[in-house]
Symmetry: C2
Subunit: 438 residues, 2 copies
């Protein structure tokens, strides 16, 4: 029966210390005729002691039987005195990537080129253990709020946003596109009577730019909810989801957070995160820019720089890593965003919001136009014709409740929890303009 390295100590303390362990050769050290081997398995690191020098290459996979023995100097307080060694997979000696080195000294492209090796380092593996918790907690929270998980097609006849930035697919005798978002489908399922749905699935953007915050393929944590009044209902829902995600990451991944010197916001912080209307947010960002730069910098809209300024402000004034910006002007939002009457006679505002977390937009959301006639009236104002929106019109024509939703970028949230410089670090097999391997 295999014992994990984390349980060697327990085995050493019990009556039957003869155990089998399996894993990768992480490090080998010789000392006065004795060999110490650090073995790595999914639970962590453990020490093996060989009386004779074994023929081991780094990263080989081995199975050893031996006696679990207390040793205060060993990692974890115990080690395995090896009796038999079996090679499960001998690693070639020309290792192209130093697994047991410091990943901080390795370039990102090298890390990505060698994913199967680089993720062997506990600090890099920690990223994806945390990401798994994010995905699990997102689903668990939404189920607790009566949401149904759906799976929708990623092959669509046309784009939700009007056809730009789409990857084209040869689909038998015709062309289809990779879905930019499940927007239309999740709205359809809300209107189908499910009322509350979520989806965890890949989304595609054929954007050519290469920035530390963009991926051409990413995991979208998507939500759509019926019978809402405004974007404020969605902000409350996202507060709940994020608070639960952070709680679960803190509970399950404290070791992984520690490897990055990272922490998650407290649920209390998420509850008190401010909601700032767009126009006010622009002013705050401008003031922050002036303060930070000691000059009369001006911010005119919420670009990536402004996102950082707004987050600086939220941290200073509210002690919050998170801030919601709502009421975006119509020109910045998709045509189907529901208008908001802000009482000042301007009909140019919308029931929309972004969530900014530690300087980065991690969510875009809003209430959608659910009224058939209003939708039809809006199209020409955006230079659009009803012909391209047959599916939407059908959706709205036969009973569609007021609704809205949002999406959290899974890799962005992972990136910002851990303070990673580039979003690609938070994707196992990222895709960018140049990279489709491995």
């Amino acid at each position: 029966m295999r014992v994990l390295t984390k349980d060697i100590l327990q085995a050493a303390k019990q009556g039957d210390p003869e155990i089998t362990v399996q894993g990768w050769v992480h490090r080998v050290r010789e000392l006065g005729g004795i060999s110490f081997v650090i073995l790595r398995d999914r639970s962590g690191l453990g020490q093996l002691v060989f009386d004779e020098k074994p023929d081991l290459t780094l990263e080989s996979v081995i199975k050893v039987q031996g006696i679990a023995t207390l040793n205060e100097k060993a990692p974890g307080g115990a080690e395995v005195r090896v009796k038999t060694l079996v090679y499960l997979s001998k690693a070639a000696p020309d290792l192209p990537y130093q697994v047991n080195g410091d990943p901080a000294k390795v370039g990102l492209e090298t890390i990505l080129d060698h994913r199967g090796l680089s993720v062997r380092h506990p600090r890099l593996q920690a990223i994806f253990r945390i990401q798994a918790t994010i995905i699990e907690a997102f689903g668990a929270y939404l189920r607790s709020q009566d949401f149904i998980e759906i799976k929708t097609s990623k092959l669509v006849g046309s784009g939700t946003e009007g056809g730009t930035e789409l990857f084209e697919v040869d689909y038998f005798d015709r062309k289809v596109y990779l879905a930019q978002s499940p927007q239309f489908y999740k709205e359809t399922m809300v209107a189908s009577g499910m009322e509350r749905v979520f989806e965890i699935a890949p989304a595609y953007r054929a954007e050519k730019h290469d920035t530390p915050r963009h991926l051409n393929e990413y995991v979208s944590l998507d939500v759509e909810m019926g019978f809402i009044e405004s974007e404020l209902d969605l902000i409350e829902l996202e507060r709940g989801a994020l608070a639960y995600i952070f709680e679960e990451v803190a509970r399950k991944n404290s070791a992984e957070l520690a490897l990055h010197g990272a922490s998650v916001p407290s649920p209390d912080m998420v509850v008190k995160a401010p909601v700032v209307p767009y126009e006010e947010a622009v002013k705050l960002a401008s003031a922050e820019a002036v303060k930070g730069k000691g000059q009369t910098a001006r911010i005119f809209d919420i670009n990536p720089e402004a996102e950082r300024f707004i987050c600086d402000w939220a941290m200073r004034e509210h002690g919050s890593d998170l801030v919601f910006v709502n009421e975006f002007p119509r020109r910045y939002r998709p045509f189907y965003t529901y208008p908001k009457d802000t009482g000042d006679g301007k009909a140019a505002s919308t029931m929309s919001f972004d969530a900014l977390f530690r300087g980065l937009e991690i969510t875009t959301g809003g209430r959608r136009q659910h009224d058939y006639n209003a939708f039809l009236e809006t199209l020409p104002r955006f230079g659009l014709k009803p012909e391209g929106f047959g599916g939407y019109l059908k959706l709205l024509k036969y009973g569609c409740p007021p609704h809205g939703g949002f999406a959290i970028g899974c890799e962005r949230l992972t990136q910002k929890i851990l303070g990673l410089a580039n979003i690609k670090e938070a994707s196992l097999f990222p895709r960018d303009r140049k990279r489709v391997e491995p």
Copy 2:
């Protein structure tokens, strides 16, 4: 505060029966000047009573305030005597699909053309509520066994199986393909030290045939596990996963199962499901074919007809809806399948298996070749060259534990739990050669 229709009875019994309900107009009936409206929301159906005839089209979304009142004759034992009515979304009267009719009388293509309307029927919505439970339970079970959820790219430079049946994608200046399976990636992550991984994601097969058991895009419930001995370890894992899925569906979706007159196997049945080697399974199927057809039908390999015969046998002899067939001949499995020495001198068998459930293959799996040299030696026997397998070779060269895995087709499992005639019924937005809408 909104009350769901399922809670009208409770509201009627309590001190404060004035409530708000929201939902879709499912049915309208007039009787002696009084109008009875059946309102549908995500919790089910409830009755509204209007003293005057309201101007309501079927499927309109409304919000009413009224008094919850006990009435033994109403569905659920209570109704809402309406005081105020608000239209949230008036449905046009030219409804192209009769939502409150019997879906059994509607053709599949019509159901799929009108997904946003057809899923409003509780019996069709039940399919996807059960599917959501399958997905949730699959993940929960694997997490309980120390598996990590991963998300891998669906855009790959080449196909795992050698390049056939792939959808081509225009990716900036080059061509990539939609992944047929996460095979290579899940193996990579096992070897990365995660050891045990699972993924829930779309998979793509550019197969031209249109059968009741094939989809061109489906949800694959994928598992990969390190440090296994043979396919029997994987069969045990799948037993556990299926038993838990069935338990959860029985616990959470009894109402949905009842709408289809369906039931799930007991955990006990899953535990005792037989494991039959391929050669024996062929003989059983042949015998069953002779028996069933009263003639000397012969079965030579396990085709869809043979799958049904083997399941007939398993049900009769073992009282089991589920049967595992293992030790497939090498010619039927991918080249990287691990060979099995069955003791009779034939090296032509493999550590592989299928799971057949109620007449349909729902899983293919097996142990993989993890030995670098054996992998290299195998390639030419399949007419393959090492050049196309650089990623695999690198994976195996630097320490890869014995491992294997399987995938459960989510829609197939859904289909067979409910006894649906066509797999497309179990996909919200199925894709076939002709269908990419909605």
